[in-house]
Each structure stands twice: as C-alpha cells, then as structure tokens.
C-alpha cells in the first residue's frame, strides 16, 4: 500500500518536472506572438519577410537582410568549427598518448566555459583591428564567423569526445586485434556508431550560433544589408533586438518582437528538418 503510494509520488514528481520543462515553451511563444500581433497581418508580414529595408522611424521593417545574415554567419561558423572539432576529438582519443589526453581534456572544457562577452571583447580588440588593416572597416561578416566558430569549436570537440567514449571502450580492442589502422577504426567502426550523437550535438551548436548575441553585436558591424563580401558589415536578428530593444516604442517595439519570433521559427524549422531527415554522411 505505502509502496504504491510512494511509486505514485515518484511518478507524479518526475512527470510534472518533465511536463513543466516542455510547457515553459508555450508562454514564451505566446508572448512573442501577442507582442508581434500588429505586424502579423498577411500584408505587413509579407512586407517584413521580403524587404531588406530596416528604417524603423520611417515605418519600414524589412527583416530579410538580417535573416540572411543570421543564417549565413551561423552556417559558416558551423562549417568551420564542426570538422575541426571532430578531427580534434579524434586526434585526442586515437592518436595522442593517454596521459596527454587526460591533461588536454580539461583545457577544452575551460574553453567551453568562457563567457561569450569575453570572446566578443577579444574579437573587438584583436580580430577586428587585424581585419581592418587588411580590408576596412574590420567589423564584418568574417569577424563574426571567426568569433562564433571559436566559440562553437570547444563544444563540438566536447560533444564528439563524449560520443566517442562508448564505442572506443567496446570496439577499440577488437579493431586493434584485427590490425585496423587508427583512421580506419574511426571511419569504419567508431563513426557509424557515434554519428547520430555527434551530429545531434553539432546541430544544437547551430541553434546556439543563431542565438548568440553579445559577441556578434560587438564584431559584426551591425549595418543592415546583404553582405557583398566576407568583409562587409552585417546585422543579425539577435543583434537587432539587442541594439534597439531598450530604445524602441510602438511599432518599432513590435517589429523587434517579430524579429524574435522569426528567429525562433527559423531555429525550430531547422531543428525539425535535421532531426527528421538525419544527415547522411
């Protein structure tokens, strides 16, 4: 009797904790929709999504250039950081002597723990002047991509590292006994087993890159335009909100909430697509 009651409470507590975590998304989405309601009329929404002219004081709220910039920066940063992170983890686990592995691992955890404002500051003080001396103004798409890639790199290395642990424990000895090369072991034995976990983790990093604000505001230049080259300044959706939210009133305020809503929808759609299809590599 009492054990059944205990089981019930256990189940109840765990279920409500899990449910709460999921339900938290609903008020957030509701708030975003409610706040951006005036601009959600089909005509106004279409105008916002297809125009690149962002002049809030003149009543022009085009988000297209910022959507493109957000996606471009995140995709390029991921394209840079993901392969490097994976290769780093492979090198760490398969090529490096074990005693060095255990000394290097805390280092990447340390890198992952650095707050984004520090990366942003580093970008502003070191990276931007460096790019500026080569192609002014310096604060640019390239600077944002590099800073973001640097921020994602330790995470993609950590995710890969963690995902490789189990297959290494269970398959490594067998592979060694068959005299498979290290790279062969990774390519044919470890990668097929760990692929889903690794790609899942890296996709999460894409969401993180899309949502990163502080570092990007500091180095991207924040000019609303389609980038003509890597050295052109751009503004992302998150930077737009961070720059103008505390100074916005009326429709301008609404348009910023619409930026948030659009950003969230982009993230959701991407996550669903990738989760559903998986990525064939």
């Amino acid at each position: 009797m009492s054990r059944q009651r205990n089981e019930f409470w256990l189940y109840f507590t765990l279920a409500s904790a899990a449910g709460l975590a999921g339900l938290l998304l609903i008020p957030v989405v509701l708030l975003l929709i409610l706040e951006s309601l005036p601009l959600l009329a089909p005509a106004a929404l279409w105008e916002s999504l297809t125009s690149a002219a962002w002049h809030p004081r003149a009543g022009e709220f085009g988000l297209l250039a910022m959507m493109v910039a957000s996606l471009l920066i995140s995709a390029l940063a991921l394209a840079l950081a993901a392969p490097l992170g994976i290769l780093y983890a492979v090198w760490l686990n398969l090529y490096l002597p074990r005693r060095w592995t255990n000394r290097l691992r805390p280092l990447q955890e340390l890198l992952a723990g650095i707050p984004s404002v520090v990366y942003g500051l580093w970008g502003l003080v070191v990276l931007v002047p460096m790019i500026n001396s080569y192609a002014p103004p310096g604060a640019s798409l390239l600077a944002a991509v590099l800073v973001l890639a640097l921020m994602i790199l330790p995470f993609s290395a950590l995710v890969t590292d963690a995902a490789l642990q189990a297959p290494i424990r269970h398959r490594m000895s067998a592979a060694q006994a068959l005299a498979v090369s290290r790279w062969g072991t990774f390519r044919r034995v470890l990668w097929p087993e760990a692929r889903a976990t690794i790609i899942g983790g890296i996709v999460l990093q894409f969401g993180r890159a899309l949502g990163e604000t502080l570092a990007v505001v500091m180095v991207a230049g924040n000019v609303v335009q389609f980038p003509g080259s890597l050295f052109d300044p751009v503004r992302t959706l998150t930077a737009n909100i961070a720059l103008e939210m505390s100074y916005a009133t009326g429709t301008h305020h609404t348009a910023l909430f619409l930026s948030g809503l659009v950003l969230m929808l982009i993230t959701l759609i991407l996550m669903f697509q990738i989760n559903r299809r998986g990525v064939a590599i």
Binding site: N6, W9, L10, T13, W54, H55, P56, R57, A58, L124, V125, V128, P129, N132, P136, P137, G138, A139, A166, R169, H170, V217, M218, G221, N222, V223, P233, R235, A242, L243, E244, S246, Y247, A248, T249, H252
Partner: protein, 329 residues
C-alpha cells in the same frame, strides 16, 4: 569440485548494448542462490528507497532551509520603511549622473530612497506615461508626440565628433560631416587627412545621440551610409581608438572620460569651436542637447525637493565631474 560462479542479476548498458552486472553481492552474503538474490534485491531496492525517502523528506528539508531566510526577510521588512521614495528610470547617459546625485542626496537626508534604473530615453518616457516611475530621464528635448510631459533640465551635454589620435584632421564643418555621413566623401584625403577610406560609425536606431546628431546635420537616417553601427558610447570610442580611419560621435562626457583612461582618440573642432565643457556652457558649441528629467504632472513634493538639490554647489560639483554643464534655471 567445479568452481561455482555466483548468480548475478544483469542489466543492459544502454550505451553499448552490453549486459553488465547490476549489483554485486556484498562479501558476507551466504552462498547459495536464494541468498545472493536476496542481497541483489536489497542492493537494488536501497537506491530506490533512498530516493523515495529523499523525496518524502523534501518538504520538511525545504522548510528547514527556507525558514531562516523567510525570518530574515520578515525582520528586514519590520525595519522602518523609507519615509520618502522615488523611482527614476531612463537614459543610460543621464543615469550615472542622477545615481550619484541621488546617493549624495540620500546621505544628507536619512530615510530617503531614490531608485535609479537605466534603460534608454524611450524607457524613461514609457515608464512615466505608465506611472511606473516618478520621473524619466531623457538625453534630448521632447519630441513632438511627447508634449504631454513636462521637462526639467538637469544639465547640458555636448556631442563631440571623434577620430583616432593619429588622424591629422583638426576640424570639420557641418557640410563636411554631412558629406561623410551620406557617403559622398569616401576617403580622408579630400578633407585634409591621410589617404584612407573613411570608416563611418553611426549609432543604433532609437538612441537619443543619433536623433540629436541627425537633426543637427539635417540628414535622414535612410541616406546615412555607415560602415559600423554601435549601440553604446563605449563601443564607438573603442572602435575609433583602434581604427585610424574611423569617425564617430559620442557625448563629450564619455569622450573625455575615455581619454583620461588612455583611449587614443581626438575630439574635433566643430564650426571652429573646441568640444569643451566651457564652450558648451557658453552656448558656442553647436552640437549640444539638454539632459532632462520628465514628469507627467507638476513634480510632487519629494521630487521637487530632489530637484532643488541639483542647484546646490555640491550637486554642481558632481555634474561638472561628469563633464556636463549644470543647467541654469
């Protein structure tokens, strides 16, 4: 005698798919199937019981840990409440000044509490209109659609055009600034500077500095061709200090403060006048703005008392320390 292996319970390791022993029998376990299983059972059950016990004790534990905190709060609440309370929100340019004035005022008048929150001029307007704040801080004059509010000028602030310290340029006319910001002038050479493309720094939409600046050079933000858009004054200074070809504009107070702290920037002469507090005070420097407190109605007694304090020598000294010009009544 054949070696007997102890029977063990097995579970699935979900990472590998391997079967692993779920628990080992303690060393004193009697030999034999029944005994071992019992031991395994006990080991298995223990964790669950422990966890359930923990959950059951949780409410009591919470009470025990939270009670002191609640008591402390209650005691704190019993302390004499401040007799006079003011909430002032708004412009991030004015907030540091008002916060310091408020601290000085509070130390003179025990029992007073003035809560100063920064969040932009627009927030100041919004909070006053909604009655969330007694007064709002704005770093510009009221716009045409804000005439329902009353302004009280606290100080006057000049806006300085800044370039890198290595830029040979000394001064700019309004027309030259207009040409730079509309993209007609692409390099410094035509203006008497070095032969580099100009990095034009503008402020983000909605900032008071931007409005005052654009109104002065009579330019629409839509025709401004910026290379970089910054939010905070510090970001403008930081960028100009690291880019020899950059030009930006910030509050004179911010510029002087950052220069004192070693930023390699230079304040340009505007229409022949140096960007100094003295010139702003004399009314000669062309690009200046009032730092205002706004209220919905005539200020109440508390606010009036605080505003009277602004005119005292002590307050004047604080205002000047922030590189602002104390407003005369």
């Amino acid at each position: 005698m054949p070696l007997k292996r102890k029977p063990q319970a097995y579970g699935i390791n979900y990472l590998s798919g391997n079967q692993l022993p779920l628990a080992r029998a303690p060393p004193h376990t009697p030999r034999g199937k029944a005994g071992t299983q019992l031991a395994v059972c006990v080991t298995k059950l223990n964790w669950r019981t422990l966890f359930i016990n923990y959950l059951q004790q949780l409410p009591m534990k919470l009470v025990r840990t939270l009670l002191p905190a609640v008591l402390t709060c209650a005691i704190a609440a019993c302390r004499p409440a401040p007799t006079n309370e003011l909430v002032i929100t708004g412009s991030s340019t004015v907030a540091p000044l008002v916060a310091e004035l408020a601290a000085a005022f509070e130390s003179q008048h025990p029992g007073w509490r003035i809560d100063v929150q920064s969040g932009g001029s627009s927030r100041g307007i919004r909070d006053v209109r909604q009655g969330l704040a007694d007064a709002g801080m704005i770093s510009r004059a009221l716009a045409t659609d804000e005439q329902d509010l009353i302004t009280h000028t606290l100080a006057i602030d000049g806006i300085a055009l800044i370039v890198h310290a290595d830029n040979p340029l000394k001064s700019l006319s309004d027309d030259e600034i207009r040409r730079i910001y509309s993209g007609d002038e692409q390099t410094w050479s035509a203006l008497g500077g070095h032969n580099r493309p100009i990095t034009v720094i503008n402020k983000a939409e909605g900032r008071a500095t931007l409005k005052v600046f654009l109104a002065h050079i009579e330019l629409d933000n839509r025709v401004v061709e910026a290379d970089l858009i910054a939010g905070e004054n510090q970001q403008v200074v930081e960028t100009v200090a690291r880019d020899p070809a950059a030009i930006g504009y910030v509050s004179i107070g911010t510029a002087k403060y950052e220069m004192d702290n070693g930023a390699s920037i230079k304040l340009l002469l505007l229409a022949g006048y140096e960007a100094t507090v003295a010139n702003v005070q004399a009314g000669d420097y062309p690009l200046s703005r009032p730092l205002n407190l706004v209220t919905r109605n005539e200020p109440n007694e508390d606010l009036a008392a605080f505003m009277k304090f602004w005119r005292t020598p002590e307050a004047t000294e604080i205002i000047q320390r922030h590189y602002f010009v104390p407003a005369t009544e």
